[in-house]
Amino acid sequence: MFAYLVKRILQAIAVMLAISMIGFAIQGNLGDPLRELLGQSVSEEVRQQLREDLGLNDPFLVQYMRFLGNALQGDLGTSYFFKEPALEVILKKFPATMELVFGATLIIVGLSVPLGVYTAIRPNSIASKVIMALSIVGISIPVFLTAILMIYLFAVELGWMPSFGRGETVHVFGYWDTNFLSADGWAHIIMPSVALSSIMLPLFVRLIRAEMMDVLQSEYVRFARAKGIAPWRIYFIHALKNTMLPVITVGGVQIGTMVAYTILTETVFSWPGMGSMFLEAVNRVDTPLIVAYLIVVGFIFVITNTIVDLIYGLVNPTVKLSRMGA
């Protein structure tokens, strides 16, 4: 377990270093900071002087170490467009995205486990067949299209739901305003959350079903039956825990995809989160903001993946002895 822990943390650090390297390379090559700072009418001499002052003529490694040092202190540069520290811009948008992810995760976890287990236990029931048919349709509709069709149906045609924005939010603390404390907030977050979960949910239902069906074929489940254990106990104590082990691993991998989907969802619903901000930054060639987004998102991935791995290690009793990984 110790080696496992150290290994995970070292690996996380290595990945973060690689991301910072990429971020640094982008910063150095994309857009000219002098032009952004000075405009075009400044003489070449002044430019050179400023280059020197800003340390742009230093060796690569010195510049990178400076970038890294600043990044560790939370300084990821100043957004060209907002004229604010890039990290601050992102942190302001962060809660909106996280609430969206939270809403979608709630839907996915809350529905995929019961639906997956049900379809595995009763594979031949009509309800299972309907669920499985819907799930394959679900994984075939791109997230953005689900979002658009929902807007068209529920906002434009039926007028039941608001079509864009976060609506009324309640301030909690710091940069955090929440959707979950007002009726209008709830109304605004439902459609984006559903849209965000629309591919992931059927994916997990199918995964849980497949794993569960495998586990139900195993010898230990048969032995549990031979012991006369009640079916609910076999399904939920014997089978579910074994089912969830691979599901947790896949879940960790899917966090990245989820963050990518927030960009799509936020764009369709004009959700004021990090994702839509990132696309705008790309259109404005706002390099510090792009780099900052990259690093923040990379950090989120690394943290969540490490946590997921540790959870896996805690849930799986065999991890302590045998090695993890392949």
Binding site: A224, I237, H238, P317
Partner: protein
């Protein structure tokens, strides 16, 4: 007193086309405390028999017809709930491979206690105490510690002892052991067999021992059923079958063992191999491999008849008996 009585049990497997028959109307009895061996090669239907008794056939297998009377009740007619009350309680099972029989994410204690509490109103602590006693009964060192361990922390032999302890938890009347030592090493195998024998003797538990190993059968059981291609082709006292088998297949099986021929010489092999379920020959299923096969054998399945101490299903044996009878009558 008869503990278990199986009558004309037929098990089929659903396939794409017609269902295929895995057990062809087999009948046998097990008396209280009796140890019965079921011998045969892979595909003979011996494991299927074991699982059918517990009503635990996995899909696509199903019981087509016949009766399984356990303590006077027909298992095939019982509700799921009633069968569940029987399993692990009156009738327990030991599986082949201890490495995959225990749930890897539950501790030994959890897996034992849940079994007790599924059948009896017991507090957690009471159940734990019983589990401890049973672990001691199968000679597990430091049983207290084992209860909190996970299966992967124990060796194969130790796990099979735990499986046996679980089977004995509720003092069942019958234990069905499906190749309980095949996955284990020779020295461990002998230990486990001895333990099983000792426990069955001392607790007066009936044992149905499913195995391919004639040596094990001869050491542990009192009566033996020999199966071939889904049928019982010979049954009787184990001694009688080992010392004087009547069916050509049983004879072939015993003669093929390396111990039966002097070292370095050719073994007496049975030609060919067992037919698969979908390509069953007509008549006696053994006829394509049998030296004595006649047209009668190729046309009709022989009935089971008493011959000396054993019951055999073989036309040749019947003919022999008829000859003997006429000879006697002539005298």
């Amino acid at each position: 007193m008869t503990l278990l009585s199986v009558r004309d049990l037929t098990v089929k497997f659903a396939t794409r086309n017609e269902p295929v028959t895995a057990l062809h109307g087999i009948s046998f009895d097990i008396a209280q405390g009796e140890r019965v061996g079921v011998v045969g090669e892979s595909g003979a239907g011996k494991s299927i028999t074991g699982f059918a008794l517990m009503n635990l056939l996995s899909k696509p297998g199903f019981i087509d017809s016949g009766q399984i009377l356990f303590e006077g009740q027909d298992v095939t007619q019982m509700s799921d709930r009633a069968v569940r009350k029987l399993r692990g309680n009156r009738m327990a099972m030991i599986f082949q491979d201890p490495m995959v029989t225990l749930n890897p994410v539950l501790t030994i204690g959890q897996q034992m206690i849940e079994t007790l509490r599924a059948h009896r109103r017991l507090s957690y602590d009471e159940a734990r105490q019983i589990a401890l006693v049973k672990l001691k009964g199968v000679y597990i060192p430091s049983p207290e510690e084992r209860l909190d361990q996970y299966p992967h922390e124990l060796s194969g032999g130790m796990r099979q002892r735990i499986v046996i302890a679980i089977a004995l938890l509720l003092d069942p009347q019958l234990i069905i052991a499906d190749e309980p030592t095949t996955a284990l090493d020779v020295t461990i195998q002998a230990d486990i067999m001895e333990l099983l024998l000792e426990l069955c003797r001392s607790n007066m538990v009936g044992l149905m021992l499913i195995t391919h190993d004639l040596g094990v059968v001869s050491q542990v059981t009192e009566r033996t059923l020999v199966m071939y291609a889904g049928r019982i082709i010979e049954s009787g006292k184990t001694r009688a079958i080992i010392n004087d088998p009547q069916h050509p297949y049983t004879q072939g099986l015993i003669n093929a063992l390396p111990q039966q021929t002097p070292p370095g010489t050719r073994l007496r092999q049975i030609p060919g191999s067992m037919p698969t379920l979908s390509m069953m020959p007509s008549g006696c299923p053994f006829n394509p491999r049998c030296e004595l096969a006649t047209d009668l054998c190729r046309a009709n399945m022989p009935d089971i008849t008493q011959f000396g101490e054993v019951q055999v299903a073989c036309h040749e044996v019947q003919r022999l008996q008829a000859d003997l009878n006429t000879a006697e009558a002539a005298q």
